[in-house]
């Protein structure tokens, strides 16, 4: 007895690999006997191949790297606190040791903390990936730019590219063939 014909949905599920093994085997067996169903399966397979082409040619948007503002704010608050603390230290030490001769030379200038923070900023640009869906591409883009990524579970430094070729040292610059 000829089994029921394929529906487009069933063919689609087969192509996507979503059918249970026994259903897939039954579908395959049917397409060997029924030419219209074989043609339907071929159409779905063809569509699948075309969609691969569509996906590979689709222009990818550059991932949006947005600064992790709350983290920046925290850095700013930290810098302000450090400045205030150093100012307090200067005033305190100035008040207590006003008669000491070396009191003028030892305190750190209040602006130094601010300078340090400013100098440190370019090295610690923190970006946050918008959501889980684009996290992989976002992280990759951040990695290429050498940025820090704010992961949902904390800040992590993106590993830098280390240019390991797997070749022995000096193999690339050698003038003669190098035995591997």
């Amino acid at each position: 007895m000829l089994k029921p014909h394929l529906t487009r949905d069933a063919a689609e599920q087969y192509i996507l690999g979503a059918l249970a093994p026994e259903k897939a085997a039954s579908l395959e067996a049917h397409t060997l006997e029924c030419e219209p169903c074989a043609r339907l399966l071929q159409e779905e397979a063809l569509l699948s191949e075309q969609l691969e082409e569509v996906a590979s040619a689709f222009p990818r948007e550059a991932p949006v790297l947005r600064p992790a503002r709350w983290d920046t704010r925290r850095v700013a608050v930290g810098a302000a606190l450090a400045t205030a603390a150093s100012l307090a230290l200067v005033l305190l030490s100035g008040g207590q040791r006003s008669t000491s001769p070396d009191a003028i030379a030892t305190p750190t200038p209040p602006s130094l903390a601010g300078l340090e923070v400013e100098a440190g900023e370019p090295r610690t640009i923190v970006v946050a990936c918008p959501d889980l869906a684009t996290q992989a591409s976002c992280t990759q883009s951040a990695e290429e730019r050498g940025l820090l990524v704010q992961y949902p579970w904390g800040t992590g430094e993106v590993p830098r590219y280390e240019a390991r070729t797997g070749l022995p040292e000096g193999a690339l610059s050698a003038r003669r063939p190098v035995s591997l």
Binding site: I15, G17, Q42, A45, E49, Q50, L51, V54, R60
Partner: protein, 215 residues
């Protein structure tokens, strides 16, 4: 030769296991380069993972060329056997999957069609390959290429779907051959939902591709 055949049997066994547990045997797509290097070095386990990951795509590409489903399975197996043999003979310098496997499979399919045609010349009309193949593979090879207009229509349709659905589609179809379980874990959805989204996007894109071109 025997080692290659033995390797293929191992791969076949792994494939049947993979059909039951699709999420387990496939690692995230990021390790593709590492797996390829290991496979080039002759690591059997790496070959098994790569074959499990790309086998379906090879079969689908053969089906799209009009090869019967049983023959498509055989040719896909032969494709992997050839690649493993080439690696064992040191003929493979790099392994870019799935493209290399797709090319090998296309070559085998064309060879198969040529042989069938040659044999049918002396046979009866009923045994002509056209009786068995819904479409001549050499013809469908040209049909596979999308026109610029079709491509732009499909891109316009894809741009209209929701960003999350588009992302699911691009993750599943961008050639990395990520299993649906991996796509689901990346986007934080269930496998069932991912498949549902893929079916919805396929329907929209099918409609876009089948639209009559404007005069």
């Amino acid at each position: 030769m025997s080692a290659a055949v033995q390797g293929l049997r191992m791969t076949t066994l792994r494939l049947s296991k993979e059909a039951d547990e699709p999420a387990e045997a496939t690692a995230p797509g990021g390790d593709e380069a590492l797996l390829s290097r290991r496979a080039l070095a002759g690591d059997r386990a790496a070959w098994d993972v790569l074959v499990a990951r790309h086998h379906r795509r090879v079969v689908v590409s053969l089906l799209a060329r009009g090869v019967r489903v049983d023959r498509a399975q055989e040719l896909a197996q032969e494709t992997w056997a050839r690649l493993i043999q080439q690696q064992q003979r040191g003929l493979l310098t790099e392994l870019r999957l799935p493209n290399l496997a797709l090319t090998q499979a296309a070559f085998l399919a064309a060879d198969d069609a040529r042989r069938a045609r040659r044999e049918s010349i002396t046979g009866a009309v009923d045994e002509l390959p056209e009786r068995h193949h819904p479409v001549d593979p050499s013809v469908s090879a040209e049909r596979r290429l999308l026109s610029e207009e079709q491509l732009s229509r499909a891109h316009a349709a894809l741009a209209q779907v929701s960003p999350s659905a588009r992302n699911v589609f691009l993750l599943a179809c961008d050639g990395q051959e990520l299993p649906h379980a991996e796509v689901a874990s990346r986007v934080g959805l269930s496998v069932q939902r991912v498949r549902q989204i893929l079916c919805e996007v396929r329907k929209k894109l099918r409609t876009a591709l089948e639209e009559e071109p404007h005069a």
